[in-house]
């Protein structure tokens, strides 16, 4: 394999992987903050993209304002969903709540599909049509923006969880709601905040990815690969989600290059099984230890 081809494949891997990482971060955040697997996270990605598309088409707002308003609006949707649909189920079995998130996701997806029937729509970005040539390979600047955003987000989130009272409260709620409540942590508020941040992150992922893939109701399908990335990373680990995403990107792209494009998914899921066989808690996860 020539060096420029190899380099191009590496760029493609990092680009694809960073998309998975961005969505995986939202998943891991919701899990760390509430202990919930949110199957509607993929639909927050689509919802964010559609919000941004609507604002781009029907207002004259600048790109940064579109991003800000979209993240805030989707965060608000996250809070409404949590307060209206998930909070009443706070004592229900975890499996029940997971199914409810799945139902919420399907409702959002179908609403988008019926309300906006264009096969795929275009969301403009300041980086449209811009690419860099590096060592005989080219990379789209939007991909660099996604990679940069993923790394920045993970850094901010790690600091947030480690250094702020709210972050620590979210971790406490995830570990033991009853104990956290006894210690004075407002569990309901933490739930709302977690969903707001998680939905906002999903929206940000949608805004960043849409200029490359287009806006369509199926955008949420990226959730499956994001799950794989999060599991490979250890599910509790934010840096793990990013590393997991990048590993999936590498496996898919190089697997596709050597064995054909239709085998890309096979490599992603085979890698998941392989990693779990060697490290059942993922690359950055730790086995749960309970005092008896």
């Amino acid at each position: 394999m020539q060096f420029d081809v190899f380099l191009q494949l590496v760029f493609a891997s990092l680009s694809t992987g960073s998309i998975y990482a961005l969505v995986a971060l939202g998943l891991v955040l919701a899990f760390k903050g509430t202990g919930l697997l949110n199957f509607a996270q993929g639909e927050f990605v689509a919802l964010g993209a559609y919000f941004a598309l609507f604002l781009s088409l029907y207002t004259d707002l600048s790109y940064p304002l579109v991003v800000l308003l979209t993240v805030l609006a989707t965060a608000l949707v996250g809070i409404v969903i949590e307060r209206a649909l998930l909070r009443p189920l706070i004592k229900a079995p975890a499996f029940t709540v997971v199914i409810v998130t799945l139902a919420i996701g399907l409702m959002i997806r179908n609403a988008l599909r019926i309300g906006w029937q264009e096969t795929v729509s275009n969301l403009p970005s300041p980086f449209d049509g811009m690419s860099w040539a590096i060592g005989g390979a080219r990379i789209n600047l939007q991909y660099l923006w996604i990679i940069g955003a993923s790394l920045l987000l993970v850094l901010l989130l790690v600091l947030f969880f480690r250094l702020t009272r709210t972050g620590k409260a979210m971790r406490a709620v995830a570990q033991n709601q009853t104990a956290a409540r006894l210690m004075g942590v407002p569990v309901g508020g933490v739930f709302s905040l977690t969903f707001a941040i998680s939905a906002g992150m999903g929206a940000l992922a949608g805004i960043l990815v849409a200029p490359l893939t287009g806006v369509e109701a199926q955008m949420g399908d990226v959730l499956i690969k994001a799950f794989v990335a999060a599991i490979i990373g250890g599910f509790y680990s934010l840096p793990g989600a990013v590393v997991g995403g990048l590993i999936i990107g590498l496996a898919e792209t190089f697997g596709g290059a050597f064995f054909g494009g239709t085998f890309k998914n096979v490599f992603a899921f085979a890698l998941l099984i392989l990693v779990l066989l060697v490290r059942p808690n993922g690359l950055f996860g730790r086995a749960e230890i309970r005092r008896v």
């Binding site: 494949l9 795929v120 729509s121 494009g261």
Partner: protein
């Protein structure tokens, strides 16, 4: 005793003659004095909702026009529509309900290939006149069945013939790379293109690669294509993939012309790929694009918008056009079948249609008593100045698709 039996038999026969209606007066299912009830199905939920919603709206517009013009021999058309969710099993349940419970006269399909295939055996077995507007699945017309008709969409094999001739004769290409989706219709189109490139022109594609539905990165395939230095890149699938393939191909330095399948001829390609899509060529199943200023298209768009004032973004689409054109074809068949409407008479009447169409917004449809493939045409469109522009090209070779029926 014998006399009694003879008397009883005579009385029974007489009663039967008096009480049972004459055979000629037994109406066909779905046909009343003032209405003809048609059953229709398609996806209005699920991933392909834009297919069924478009097909249904186009069909409804046609029905409104037909009824406003007095209907068919004094009968108004009524349509009962069922959602198939793009699932073969749901589609089968839908047509069973339409046939057995609603007792419709015929079935009008505005669904994709997968759901349509699920209904075909049942409809053939029950001899229900069926008019498929959108699905290109071969089992609709192969083998020949008296009551199965295909309208606006043409056959998979015909796509292969048209693409092969266009690529080699119009585009003068002999180095051809094919990148197709791995799902039903792009795979069929890719296979057919490969077949006719070999059979008609002795050309073996430089490379034949595939991708999965929903893929967002095509770098590995495009790098392999780049290595073969083709004259033309043929990409077959949906516009959702095409807009990424086109952009990535240009980013990777592939400057060759790109040819794509009919599903890619969509304004979304221009909107999403921008100037990277300039020069992209693809096939389109109606003579005019939606933004054409031809009076027939202008009239159609005005009528459509009047009926659908709050239409969502992206509509009308090609499926609106197909449903509209094909319902008018069905109406013409019903008209030709005469006032004493029967299923057999309707099927025979459709077979008299030769190059019939409602207006320039549809391709002409022809049916005979030995084939029911209504359309073999496709128009080639190119993106010029960020608009879809029709290319003046007509195939010189006659199709072999109908040969098997002639034998």
């Amino acid at each position: 005793m014998v006399g009694f039996l003879r008397g009883f038999a005579t009385a029974t026969l007489a009663a039967a003659v008096v009480l049972l209606p004459p055979l000629a007066a037994v109406a066909e299912p779905g046909v009343a004095d003032d209405t003809i009830t048609i059953g229709a199905y398609g996806p209005i939920t699920g991933p392909a909702a834009f297919v069924g919603l478009g097909g249904r709206a186009g069909m409804e517009l046609a029905v409104e026009e037909i009824n406003a013009a007095g209907g068919i021999h004094g009968r108004k058309i009524e349509v009962i529509f069922e959602d198939d969710g793009f699932s073969p099993t749901t589609a089968l349940a839908a047509v069973k309900k339409l046939v057995d419970q609603d007792e419709v006269f015929m079935i009008f399909g505005v669904s994709g290939s997968n759901p349509t295939v699920g209904t075909i055996d049942f409809l053939k077995e029950r001899n229900i006149p069926t008019y498929v507007s959108i699905a290109s699945a071969p089992p609709v017309t192969h083998p020949f069945h008296q009551y199965m008709f295909r309208g606006g969409t043409t056959e998979s094999a015909r796509y292969g013939e048209l693409y092969a001739e266009f690529l080699t004769q119009f585009m003068q290409a002999d180095g051809i790379a094919i990148l197709s989706g791995s799902d039903e219709f792009p795979k069929n189109e890719g296979d057919a293109t490969e077949r006719f490139l070999k059979e008609w022109y002795g050309i073996e594609p430089l490379v034949r690669l595939e991708f999965n539905v929903g893929d967002k990165d095509f770098t590995p395939q495009l790098l392999e294509i780049k290595g073969t230095n083709p004259d033309v890149i043929v990409t077959l699938g949906h516009v959702t993939e095409a807009q990424i393939i086109v952009r990535q191909a240009r980013e990777l330095g592939l400057q060759q012309p790109i040819f794509g399948s009919g599903a890619m001829v969509d304004n979304a390609l221009i909107a999403n790929a921008g100037y990277a899509a300039e020069g992209f060529i693809g096939g389109w199943l109606t003579p005019l694009f939606l933004d054409s200023q031809h009076p027939d298209m202008v009239a159609y768009m005005e009528a459509w918008r009047a009926k659908n004032p709050d239409a969502p973004v992206g509509r009308p689409n090609v499926f609106d056009l197909l449903g509209y054109g094909d319902m008018h074809v069905v109406a013409e068949g019903l008209r030709r079948a005469g006032p004493d409407l029967t299923r057999e008479g309707f099927a025979k009447a459709l077979e008299t249609l030769e190059n019939w169409r409602v207006s320039e917004v549809a391709t002409p449809r022809t049916f005979t008593d030995w084939h029911h493939i209504g359309n073999l045409r496709m128009n080639m469109m190119v993106i010029l100045g960020q608009h879809w522009v029709p290319l003046r090209w007509d195939p010189a070779r006659s199709s072999t698709v109908l040969d098997e029926f002639k034998k």
